[in-house]
Symmetry: C2
Subunit: 677 residues, 2 copies
């Protein structure tokens, strides 16, 4: 429970009790009790929106389970399309509950048809009220928030080079000329890559020095950290201090040099939120590609390293990243095909004949077909989120929150393509991408391929959804082992606990994928629905616990992640419709097949309405709110001190040495004071 530890709600020195390692169900109660408002005040709106995904999932699948299990399942089972091979019953038992078992041309398929229409209507209704709810929450959150620097600040990029004056001067002159009444100040962005490297190096060296000193002077530290610190190397302290001084000198020279290294970008702060919004929304200068304005992120949220300031380079890197992402997404199916090969033992035998003996052992075959595919998939998948984060950061987003949102979208499509489509299609046909060049055939191909993978996805929900994610999250085994190993190897165990933030970019796509599975298999194989419902029940409790006890919000987007959820659900619905069109065609009910065609069109129209209705509220705040907030501030005496701070809020942390929180907190040694000039 890193967050509680960090906030010192749980005493650090609490004695080790074996009982604490045993499972207890106390936490469920604890996680259940707090209301949504508590969560909002404790972890911000993003956490609330994150939990709304589970609420939404629970509502959707509660309805789906009722319809699917009580109505569709009996009809599927009563069919006898597959009853010819009764000898093969154990293998086919799952499929006898699926739509494959309904007779061709049977009138019972009209029940499926109605179920699809009703289910779509219900999901759309739930989507609408959820979007509405979150949009209103977002405004309420804005009203209740304290004045924050990002509300008053605009990031200006692509400031053109003028021969006679510097970037800073041209920003100053433009904004003080055109917005004289509300322009407050600006701070230029500087090229601090080298400085940041030096500072980090010096920082590390300093920490090591402090650590070494502490080991020499204060022996009681050993007991507290409870680690194998004895195996550390002994280095001459004086030598160390000298090299640190050198570094310090480098930092200072670099810091003085940095002032000239201005980048064509600046954070411009205003005295009113409305002016900031005007500057953001109204094109400023003649060329739309120069003086590009956008909402500044929160100062803590800024990602400094990949700061691309020019419109053209940002645009180019954007295109390059999209191309790279498409390549990664499309070519990733090679390992997936391999995994799928493991599930199809026959294929494995064909590919690797030497494995034949091994494969024919019963235990091996069970393990291989049952668990290995999901495990390998998960393993490979866990490598992907960092790659996506990297791609998104190259794309030129300025804030962690934007990088995570972009990575979230990338990862979502990656997951859908590589887990859903690659699995579905590689079992049937290996020519994945090509079939999408002939859109006419897509429904038929999907209709053949998707129902066949129902049992695989049920096992995927269990292995990937139930066991792996929650146990790993809840007990945080990985970080525990990792910190233990690090403690042994580097003797750095007295490093402060870093409180993790919720990795939205990797969590949301996983959850959305289960929504996709549930919706797609809703009428194909209703047997998957209870598993998905249980997943969402588990998830609701577990993630509430995580958000209260483990994670600490790193940024606050004001619920912008919900748009991803909405789009993914719409996509899932349309995928279901396409499969339905194919299935009804295969089952020889062509009228039902054609009658399903309006459904995706209606869903898309609904989606476009939702986008018009809600999306603008997620891009910015309405003028009404901005003006009201501005007026509230006018009557607030603390505003003037806030404006004083605003001027320096957007300095690069590498440049503003004094304000670097981590170091200044523990600055009690004279060396540190000297170092922090």
């Amino acid at each position: 429970m890193p967050r509680l530890v960090a906030e010192e709600k749980v005493e650090h020195e609490e004695e080790f009790r074996v009982g604490r390692l045993l499972p207890s169900f106390e936490w469920i109660k604890k996680a259940w009790r707090p209301s949504e408002d508590d969560l909002l005040s404790y972890s911000g709106l993003d956490a609330v929106v994150f939990m709304r995904i589970f609420t939404f999932g629970l509502r959707v699948f509660r309805f789906a389970v009722i319809v699917g299990i009580l109505i569709l399942l009996p009809f599927n089972y009563a069919g006898n399309q597959l009853s010819i091979d009764f000898s093969d019953l154990p293998n086919k038992s799952l499929e006898s509950f699926s739509i494959s078992n309904v007779d061709d041309g049977s009138n019972r398929l009209w029940i499926h048809f109605c179920a699809i229409y009703i289910f779509t209507a219900v999901v759309c209704y739930l989507l609408y009220i959820e979007f509405d709810y979150i949009a209103s929450k977002r405004i309420a959150f804005f009203y209740s928030s304290k004045p924050k620097p990002d509300q008053f600040t605009v990031l200006v990029r692509s400031i053109p080079i003028t021969p006679e004056r510097s970037f800073s001067e041209s920003v100053e002159s433009y904004f003080s000329e055109y917005y004289p009444s509300s322009y407050l100040s600006h701070s230029m962005v500087r090229r601090t890559g080298k400085l940041r490297g030096l500072v980090n190096k010096a920082d590390k060296a300093y920490k090591k020095l402090v650590h070494l000193k502490s080991k020499n002077d204060e022996q009681q530290r050993y007991t507290r950290s409870g680690c194998l610190g004895l195996c550390g190397r002994r280095i001459d302290l004086e030598e160390y201090e000298k090299s640190l001084e050198d570094m310090e000198h480098n930092v200072m020279t670099e810091r003085s040099a940095i002032v000239g290294k201005e980048v064509a970008a600046a954070f411009v702060s205003f005295k009113s939120r409305l002016t900031a919004a005007t500057v953001i929304h109204v094109q400023q200068r003649l060329k739309p590609t120069e003086w590009v304005t956008e909402q500044a992120p929160d100062p803590q949220d800024i990602y400094w390293p990949f700061f691309s300031s020019l419109f053209f380079t940002k645009w180019l890197s954007n295109i390059a990243v999209i191309v790279a992402w498409i390549c990664i997404t499309l070519l990733f199916f090679i390992p997936v095909a391999f995994v799928q090969g493991l599930a199809n033992l026959d294929q494995l035998e064909r590919w690797f004949p030497f494995l034949k003996g091994l494969v024919e052992m019963k235990v091996v075959s069970q393990v291989v077909t049952g668990y290995l595919p999901s495990l390998v998939l998960d393993l490979v998948q866990s490598l992907v989120p960092p790659v996506m984060i990297l791609l998104s950061s190259i794309q030129g987003y300025i804030a962690f929150s934007k990088i995570e949102k972009s990575a979230c979208i990338k990862l979502l499509w990656f997951t859908i393509w590589n887990v859903f489509f690659a699995n579905v299609l590689s079992g049937t046909a290996l020519y994945n991408a090509e079939i999408f060049l002939e859109p006419k055939n897509v429904p038929a191909i999907l209709a053949v391929a998707v129902p066949g993978q129902a049992s695989f996805f049920i096992s995927y929900v269990v292995t990937s959804g139930w066991t792996k994610i929650f146990s790993a999250k809840l007990f945080r085994l990985k970080p525990l082992i990792w910190s233990y190993v690090k403690g042994i190897l580097c003797c750095n165990s007295d490093e402060e606990h870093e409180v993790p933030s919720n990795p939205y970019h990797s969590e949301i796509p996983k959850i959305l994928f289960f929504i996709l599975l549930g919706i797609t298999y809703f009428f194909l194989a209703p047997l998957i629905l209870p598993f998905v419902l249980v997943y969402f029940c588990f998830g609701y409790i577990v993630y509430r616990n995580q958000l209260f006890n483990v994670y600490k919000p790193k940024f606050e987007t004001g619920g912008k992640f919900w748009t991803v959820v909405h789009d993914a659900t719409i996509f899932a619905l349309i995928l279901m419709h396409i499969i339905a069109i194919g299935i009804f065609g295969l089952k020889k009910v062509p009228i039902a097949s054609s009658a399903t065609i309006p459904l995706p069109i209606l869903t898309l129209i609904f989606n476009s309405y939702c986008r018009r209705r809600f999306l603008p509220s997620f891009r910015g705040y309405p003028a009404e709110c901005l003006i009201n907030k501005d007026r509230m501030d006018e009557n607030d005496p603390s505003t003037s001190s806030f404006f004083d701070e605003l001027g320096t809020a957007y300095r690069d942390p590498a440049v503003k040495s004094r304000r670097d929180s981590r170091r200044s907190e523990s600055s009690d040694s004279p060396l540190l004071d000297r170092y922090n000039v």
Copy 2:
């Protein structure tokens, strides 16, 4: 020359001279002489942009003719792919100049390959500088313009219903509360459909009365109008006056009733352009679908009848119109297929066996194959623009300019689909729409079909481009005959001349279609290029004359039509690339075929850059300009009187009786004064 007549530059009573009917080339000199600035001051920026289409076309096809005729044509002719059937030479002579004549797998195709790359680069370069030029013109035009009501005014739609107060009160209270310093006034939109009908009826009756009176009292009018006015019916004047008085009474009661018929929309005027821009660009109230703001059009530009004020109805009618437009566009191919059937005489014989004897006559066959197809096409096509205008007006656009632009885009795609694709494909295969469901086969199908229609399109350029459009436009035969016929039938010959405005919505798609033809056939059949070039030479002169002498601008969009030209050219380039990919595949040069694939992608990337670079300038004006203009106004003494007028500028013409220009101009009779209460 209606505009000159209306502006009384040409004396009306000038004696009829036979010489004036004879062709003279004086006008060419006259049309050539004025500079672009003259045109700008005389007919506005839209006229300049319209002429830039011709300048652009001339530049593109000057280059294309040089490359096509001097380089590609000889290579095509030197090939001997088609030389097998020398007996059929006259028929095939055109094709021997086309790419079909190049040998399969010949290395000469690499010359075509290079030509495509170079041509694309040149066209993109020209597009870029043209876009840049027009964007800068647009800003300059804005700077030089006088204060206009639309610059200060915002149209607010979808004002929600509140029980306690009227729409007008809620507009007043919102804007005076949130924009107290710059809010000036507002005028509500009212439901005036019935009133407008009554006013028009009374207007007509009044005109007739004046006409009858003039015939009785002032006999000299006969000579002036020079028409067969004697055949008019005699009606008792007193009876007529009485019915007019009734109408007048109706108008007055309706006008007093109209005040209550407020619609949820208002024109809100501000004292500064920047505030208006802020209100437009920043979402105003909590719900994005309420208080929807947009730039108000010029008061003369407003199209009152289809004023849909609610977001939801506008959104729905938008979707309905798009669906209707797609249906019209797709189903229109039936007459086109028939026309194409006429061109393929064999097919005609097959369809209508009884025509066999007729068709085999030489004259008939020549007429049928030569001219009839183009003529029928043009005839049917001339019915389409009004339909598109109707569709666009239902869509809920508030201004004539927007309706015309939207109709222009609709008509463009209509033309491309129904003239280009339907002709190209119906000759080869009748299953038009279906092939686009299999994108993989599109290049190959187009590569087979498009070159075959080269001779048809050459004749289309000549009949449709050269002869018909220009002769009809220049001599304005149709309006002349029409007004003559009307004069005979209705005795309304003393009606004022109505100066026509340039029908951009029907002219621009035609011109763009020739650009499309020229670009698409550039490497397929370079023989078409001189014809297209001549078309643009003609067009340049003729339309200059039209813009100076015939048309009077009805509205001013500030060059927004250029975006349509840009998009159409990009589409033409990509179409050419797709055909090239197919052709190189057919001609067995697969490497060239694959090497062409990056070209459309690069073109699209170029297009997306252009959109980012220029499009924002076409949506609004930058803050810099707005603030500068506002400051200029502050020093201008005439501004206060302008603001006084601004308050009443946005009244519905049916409501503001006094200011209705047409009637008040000629209000010298006491009846008229009474009628115009």
